[in-house]
């Protein structure tokens, strides 16, 4: 058990403060606190110069302008060196004309990977799996996604989660399955019988007292 913990490090959970870090990146030394006040997507990839990771980096770069509109910064990570990250980013730009606009952590000593539970020994004892940590402006972890080494991430879903979290924070509502911006949102369930009865008179679209939706 101890051996597994040593290999995997701490496993953060949703709702917890994001583990602090002080990391060497392709944009210089960055600390978690440098991102305070912005949303942050911290994501790991297994290795530079690998095919699935390259498609993901192109895809992350393509959604970067949309993330900027939503006040979200991107920060990549792998256990490769800064020189490797720079060479890979330059190669991606040369071959595909896509410039990588965000910093990438060079986590050679695995300090950040272990703090965020990014190494899953059942997949690889040396590489990080494909993790996504969505961290809010107060530096609380709001979403964690893990993908296996063989499956590239879905950028639409990442954008959808950002939209959903920001809609929830702004309006105090929840979002139903497959929600997209513009769709109806879920009104929080009532806590008392009186609130349940009042709810049915409030003009919401209700399936029953516990499932009511409204337009924003």
């Amino acid at each position: 058990m101890e051996e597994i913990k040593e290999q995997t490090g701490h496993m953060p959970r949703i709702g917890e403060p994001a583990p602090v870090f002080d990391a060497v990146t392709t944009h210089g030394k960055l600390k978690l606190e440098d991102f305070k006040g912005s949303w942050l997507i911290l994501f790991s990839h297994p290795a530079d110069f690998t095919p699935v990771c390259t498609t993901e980096f192109i895809a992350f770069s393509e959604i970067h302008p949309e993330l900027q509109k939503r006040g979200v910064e991107l920060l990549g990570l792998s256990v490769d060196s800064v020189s490797s990250h720079i060479a890979w980013a330059r190669n991606v730009e040369e071959k595909t004309r896509v410039k990588i606009p965000f910093p990438i952590i060079a986590d050679l000593n695995k300090e950040v990977s272990l703090a965020y539970g990014m190494i899953h020994p059942g997949q690889s004892k040396t590489e990080t799996v494909r993790c996504v940590f969505i961290i809010d402006p107060n530096q609380i972890i709001r979403t964690i996604l893990y993908y296996p080494l063989t499956t590239g991430r879905n950028m639409d879903e990442i954008l959808r989660i950002i939209d959903a979290l920001q809609t929830t924070d702004k309006n105090g509502v929840a979002t139903p399955a497959n929600w997209r911006p513009g769709d109806m949102v879920v009104v929080p369930p009532p806590n008392t019988q009186e609130m349940a009865e009042e709810r049915l008179k409030q003009g919401y679209e209700c399936t029953d007292w516990y499932l009511c939706k409204k337009k924003l």
Binding site: H27, G28, K29, L30, K31, D34, G37, S38, E73
Partner: protein, 73 residues
């Protein structure tokens, strides 16, 4: 070093921050606006410029040091 090259000259982002500081002291947010750089880059860059003696921090505000002023002349 992201703001200062190994030859001691400021990088493009370092120059932008130094020029923003030349226009007057400011908070990281104000400097980010003036320099047109992301706030996280400015926070990290100001730490670097301060450690290098090119900027000075007073409470939450930053200003150019004498060495910083000489460097961008």
């Amino acid at each position: 070093m992201a703001c200062i090259s190994p030859d001691g000259k400021p990088t493009e982002s370092g120059s932008k921050m130094l020029r923003a500081l030349q226009a007057g002291s400011g908070s990281p947010e104000e400097i980010a606006n003036k320099a047109g750089l992301p706030l996280f880059r400015v926070r990290s860059g100001l730490r670097e410029l301060t450690e290098a003696g090119l900027a000075k921090q007073k409470d939450d505000r930053y200003e150019l040091s004498e060495d910083g002023a000489k460097l961008i002349k």
